[in-house]
């Protein structure tokens, strides 16, 4: 049985539950998990129940990296570090927004831990509000499309680059839609000494508005359209990318999600889709995806 046990309260088709399961599949029992506040934390631990088959701690929304660094320091001080892996699993809000300072501090100090961002591109736990991981023109409850708006006006923050700039020995992107690839990267991140980072793209059926049975399909479309490039960086240098054979146009990814529906119905929408296509084209060029 998975170390993330059944009976939790995740939605059917939940990307976070998949991510949590894959992380524990990769790391095994000798792992301590730190969660910031978020969907994964809430739906796995309705007191007195817990879905976690490994030691798990949640403190606050913005401090998971600091808590994880304290766990690591304590294990070292108590002579219990041995091979125990410490992993923080946070959502995009907890990682790119409110927890950024604590993450920067923990990476600068060089603790031996892995931070995994499960990025579903908005504050899903509080009801689909935009975060700095929300992509251009996604409609959320705080960046809704409207008569004079195409939705979220900002581009997604490039978090892997920020972590790489801290001198992290290993930064990777992954997707819940490519489980073997994700598991391999999480395992590698945990085995490398020092602070390492895996940024996992995680389609949220509730927030992105698609059927719960389509999580993997939507995740694959993000990769196949180059909206989510899969790559590894070692010591700041891109060392491995997942190449695309027959890249699809971004419309194929956008049209299956309710959060982009307005781009296909509003006047001028097709012009705006070109801007999203330009993001995918930049990814292809920057990471050499083709």
């Amino acid at each position: 049985m998975s170390l993330l046990k059944p009976g939790h309260r995740g939605c059917a088709g939940c990307c976070d539950a998949l991510a949590g399961k894959f992380v524990l599949d990769a790391l095994g029992e000798d792992t301590i998990v730190v969660s910031p506040t978020g969907c994964l934390e809430v739906f796995t631990t309705p007191y007195p129940e817990s879905a976690w088959g490994v030691p798990w701690v949640h403190s606050l929304f913005e401090n998971a990296a600091a808590v994880a660094s304290g766990v690591e320091a304590a294990l070292k001080a108590l002579g219990r570090k041995n091979h125990t892996k410490i992993v923080a699993i946070g959502g995009d809000g907890a990682t790119l927004d409110i927890g950024l300072q604590a993450i920067s501090g923990a990476f600068e100090r060089g603790h031996d831990f892995t931070y995994i961002c499960v990025d579903n591109e908005a504050y899903m736990n509080t009801g689909i509000q935009r975060s700095s991981a929300t992509p251009l023109y996604a409609s959320t409850t705080t960046s809704p499309s409207g008569k004079v708006s195409f939705g979220n006006p900002q581009h997604k923050k490039n978090m892997p680059a920020i972590i790489a700039a801290h001198g992290s020995p290993y930064v990777a992107t992954a997707s819940v839609a490519y489980a073997p690839d994700m598991i391999k990267k999480v395992k590698k991140a945990a085995e490398i000494k020092g602070p390492t980072y895996v940024h996992v793209h995680a389609p949220c059926c509730t927030g992105w508005k698609f059927e719960g049975s389509k999580t993997i399909e939507v995740g694959r479309l993000a990769v196949e359209t180059a909206m989510w490039p899969l790559y590894e960086m070692e010591n700041g240098v891109v060392t491995n990318v997942r190449k695309l054979k027959n890249r699809k146009p971004v419309e194929e990814y956008l049209k299956v999600q309710g959060r982009f529906k307005h781009l296909f119905t509003m006047e001028g929408g097709s012009e705006e889709i070109k801007k999203i296509q330009a993001i995918a084209d930049w990814n292809v060029k920057h990471f050499g995806l083709e």
């Binding site: 808590v67 320091a73 100090r109």
Partner: protein, 395 residues
């Protein structure tokens, strides 16, 4: 001066006390006037005198957060901060207490901004009153240092398991050089056993910390914190007495009286101002005046029963507060003392004075002025609460 005494800065005495308590993890961020404590601790670590992970973190918020992780992993943990740093920790203070983690922190009391001011008052720790932390207030340097092992012992008690603050007045105690006895390692080992928690993060025995509690269970978590504070109330006296047995020093447990038994006017206060009040009382007693002191050492848990008993014979009660609840025109001690007397037979006036804000000195002349005002109460002339040391040219 006793032979074993040395003249050191208050911060050094505290840092040394921390060292002999053998913490496993220290995490801190520098802020005036706490800096000397963490500098001294860093030096101990650099010199290999402490077998401890010393973490230089990027904010007070991460300092306390790292200790939440470390404490949950089974480590003895310590930090120190003040003022803005303590305010920045606010959210995590509730969390540390709710998770029942016995973190010990020296709060070097300082005023809060705006206007920015680095000097002493007690607004910072008083403003964290309801976070679920034990709060003791030290009178002098020796007590500030001696509180550290006392609070580790108290916080780590399985019946308590609450974090605690050792509060010492900024500059007045942190930067003063006084003769003190540095805590002996041997005596401290005898007094304070190693921390061995029943619950911790350990892959051999997985547990979940910090779960989500809905309305059907949340209330009982709060109830149990309150119950643990009740246990602390009983044990503060015990640990102070055990400390006396081993080290030979005693400061009172929850409260301490001075010239109290027959006093008609009783002054109540916390922290370093106690010394000034004692000197003033000595003078006034010499002149035949009936004035006494009730030092409040434990503000959380609040020793309501002990205070009621100690105030039985008082005719006028005077509270001194280095803080204010703006909009109530009252300091916290004043409010709490009034409240604890309300459902009792003690029907005497309680008058409050707010003073010493932002480092304004409290000379004996101010204490005398306050006592003179207390004497007018018999004639029915009094205000319930006021600033004691306002500058008329600025007010």
């Amino acid at each position: 001066m006793r032979k074993s005494m040395v003249v050191v800065e208050g911060s050094y005495a505290v840092a040394h006390a921390v060292k002999v308590c053998k913490p496993n993890v220290i995490s801190a961020y520098p802020i005036t006037p706490q800096t000397h404590i963490v500098e001294d601790l860093s030096q101990f670590a650099a010199d290999g005198e402490m077998n401890c992970e010393y973490m230089n973190v990027e904010s007070e918020f991460s300092a306390i957060s790292a200790l939440i992780g470390a404490s949950a992993t089974g480590a003895r943990t310590y930090t120190s901060t003040t003022s803005q740093g303590l305010a920045l920790m606010h959210e995590a203070l509730f969390n540390a207490s709710g998770m029942r983690l016995p973190i010990v922190m020296t709060v070097v009391n300082r005023a809060l901004s705006a206007p920015i001011n680095i000097w002493n008052d007690q607004q910072d720790s008083i403003s964290q009153r309801d976070t679920g932390w034990i709060q003791l207030y030290a009178e002098d340097v020796q007590e500030s240092a001696d509180m550290v092992p006392q609070l580790f012992k108290l916080s780590e008690d399985p019946d308590v398991l609450l974090p605690s603050m050792a509060c010492m007045d900024g500059f007045i105690l942190s930067h003063v050089y006084e003769p003190v006895i540095l805590l002996e390692q041997g005596l401290t080992d005898e007094y304070l056993p190693p921390y061995s928690p029943e619950f911790m993060l350990d892959p051999k025995n997985p547990m979940s910390f910090g779960a989500f509690a809905d309305p059907s269970t949340y209330t009982e978590f709060r109830y149990k914190q309150e119950k643990a504070m009740g246990e602390a109330l009983k044990k503060i006296e015990e640990i102070a007495n055990e400390f006396k047995d081993i080290y030979g020093r005693y400061y009172g447990g929850l409260i301490e009286g001075y010239a109290l038994d027959d006093a008609e006017i009783v002054i109540m206060a916390m922290g370093s101002v106690i010394g000034t009040i004692k000197d003033t009382i000595d003078e006034l007693r010499h002149d035949g005046e009936s004035v006494g002191l009730l030092k409040v050492r434990s503000f959380r848990p609040f020793p309501a029963d002990a205070i009621r008993a100690a105030l039985k014979n008082a005719k006028v009660i005077v509270t001194l507060d280095k803080n204010i609840s703006i909009g109530k025109n009252e300091g916290a001690l004043c409010t709490e003392v009034k409240a604890c007397l309300h459902n009792t037979d003690t029907r005497v006036p309680v008058i409050g004075f707010m003073l010493g804000h932002g480092g304004r000195d409290i000379p004996m002349s101010t204490i005398k002025k306050i006592i003179n005002k207390a004497k007018l109460v018999e004639k029915g002339i009094f205000v319930e609460s006021e600033f004691a040391d306002l500058r008329e040219d600025l007010a």
